[in-house]
């Protein structure tokens, strides 16, 4: 059944903008991204929006719907009140390019800073066999679709622009965790992640885990295990002493 939906969409660019009200006909069973497409086709042909798969797999259509960071293509209209307007704004943590499109370059710079996988010299390189139980651990993090909703919602940078330089963010903390947990990786990124990548800025309040569309347990399985690994090298006098004695941990 078709009905009229009220949308309030943020329109503007880097120099400023405002919410604008629209009404678009939508069908039952559609998602917020459909409504945005109808809007684009009918009355706002110049509205900028980024999307690709419409299946929750490409991570392009991130926006804030009624103030909550979500994928527009996974937000079913049936979960909203029909007569209440739906407000759509661009990701707040990143600079606006135009309308709903933001410049997420911050994340690519943080990605480039991650020291790459460094295969252990002690093990045969190819073919490297990995047990299923070791694979599973990092596979959870590999589900990431880089929608950057976790980065957007994280209060460390959302509310504090000045922390951006020193903070990689939850998406990359799970990347560090994945490498640290890899059986054939010899790198040690524990000091780095604490001193230069801002792991200590995270106060484990779990908003990243709450918004992740892939349901990755970012905090429980990535950030907290990393904080514990950091404690091993930085805050554990017993292990510190043993290392001084020449016993590797």
């Amino acid at each position: 059944m078709t009905y009229d939906l009220k949308l309030r969409v943020w329109r503007g660019d880097a120099s400023g903008g405002a919410l604008r009200d629209y009404t678009v006909p939508v069908d039952d069973g559609e998602v917020v991204l459909d409504a945005v497409h109808h809007l684009q086709a009918r009355e706002a042909g110049d509205m900028a929006v980024r999307w690709n798969c419409k299946a929750g797999k490409c991570g392009s259509c991130s926006a804030e719907i009624n103030g909550r960071p979500r994928l527009m293509c996974l937000a079913r209209l049936s979960t909203f009140e029909r007569d209440e307007p739906i407000t759509i704004t661009p990701l707040r943590t990143f600079p606006v390019v135009k309308d709903l499109v933001t410049d997420v370059g911050f994340n690519y710079r943080k990605a480039a800073e991650v020291p790459a996988f460094s295969p252990s010299a002690a093990q045969p390189q190819a073919p490297f066999k990995m047990a299923q139980i070791d694979v599973e651990r990092s596979q959870e993090f590999r589900k990431c679709i880089e929608c950057f909703l976790c980065q957007d919602t994280c209060h460390v940078i959302r509310d504090h622009e000045d922390n951006k330089a020193a903070f990689s963010g939850p998406r990359f903390f799970i990347r560090y965790a994945e490498l640290e947990m890899h059986p054939n990786d010899d790198g040690d990124r524990r000091q780095l992640v604490q001193q230069e990548r801002g792991l200590g800025l995270c106060n484990i309040t779990k908003c990243c885990s709450e918004v992740c569309p892939e349901h990755i347990k970012i905090t429980d399985n990535g950030i907290i295990p990393m904080k514990e690994r950091v404690a091993d090298v930085r805050y554990d006098p017993v292990r510190f002493f043993r290392r001084r004695q020449g016993n590797p941990s």
Partner: protein, 246 residues
């Protein structure tokens, strides 16, 4: 849990436990001892007030008669530190009391934010030591629960409602400790190769399961430890009599 609810429960617990810890009376009713007063390290426990009488509560007199205030103060720092640095409680009180953040994607009222990178919050990194101390306390409280199967005249084979309370309390504290994130790391999380350490991997699996219930266990054990103190207090002061099963 909603920050307002968790904040209220936390405040209620802090108020009750502060009062109970300073009360310095009604914490022992043979064979039951309040978890707030165990182990007792001061010799004043030798003549502990219970209602209108004085009873000899179990103690080791490391702190002699000169220690005149409540002996609970001597030990409470450990369970307190354990809970204060717990990853779950951190999340709860940062959100509820510090509003950092008040809720996800809701602006926080602070100008600057340094997370857990500076003193005092950098001390949160020492959580694992409180975990180790917590294990010692769990062992002592388990011992307390076991000896509560003795009657008022020290004969084995007694069981009253108080025994059940003490046993449940000890069990919840064990579950809370074992579901701890630091515990998960220590038993196996720190490994790179699960496949090379099958036994530790198994332990890690068990702790991981418990860990997913850490929040519930944190609340259950917190509330129950206060109820256990309250129960012993009511029996010791003579307000109620302990129903005896055998």
């Amino acid at each position: 849990m909603q920050p307002t609810i968790s904040g209220t429960v936390l405040l209620a617990f802090i108020a009750y436990s502060t009062w109970a810890a300073f009360a310095n009376s009604d914490y022992f009713a043979r064979p039951y001892i309040s978890p707030f007063y165990s182990p007792c390290l001061a010799s004043i426990c030798g003549s502990a007030r219970a209602g209108s009488q004085h009873v000899s509560a179990p103690h080791v007199g490391i702190f002699g008669p000169w220690w005149a205030i409540s002996p609970a103060i001597l030990v409470l720092i450990f369970p307190l530190g354990f809970r204060l640095t717990c990853y779950y409680y951190r999340r709860a009180y940062y959100r509820a009391f510090w509003q950092s953040p008040p809720a996800c994607a809701v602006g926080e009222p602070h100008k600057r934010y340094s997370g857990e990178t500076r003193f005092p919050l950098i001390l949160q990194n020492f959580h694992r030591y409180f975990f180790y101390f917590g294990l010692i306390f769990n062992a002592i409280l388990t011992y307390d629960a076991v000896v509560s199967f003795r009657s008022t005249t020290d004969k084995w084979g007694h069981m009253g409602l108080g025994t059940v309370v003490l046993v449940v309390n000890a069990a919840l504290l064990w579950l809370y400790s074992l579901s701890c994130h630091s515990c998960r790391h220590i038993v196996g999380g720190r490994l790179k190769h699960f496949s090379r350490h099958p036994i530790r991997f198994k332990f890690w699996g068990v702790v991981t399961k418990l860990n997913s219930r850490h929040m519930q266990l944190a609340w259950a054990s917190l509330i129950f430890v206060a109820l256990t103190d309250l129960y012993v207090r009511l029996v010791a002061s003579g307000t109620i009599t302990d129903p005896r099963f055998f």
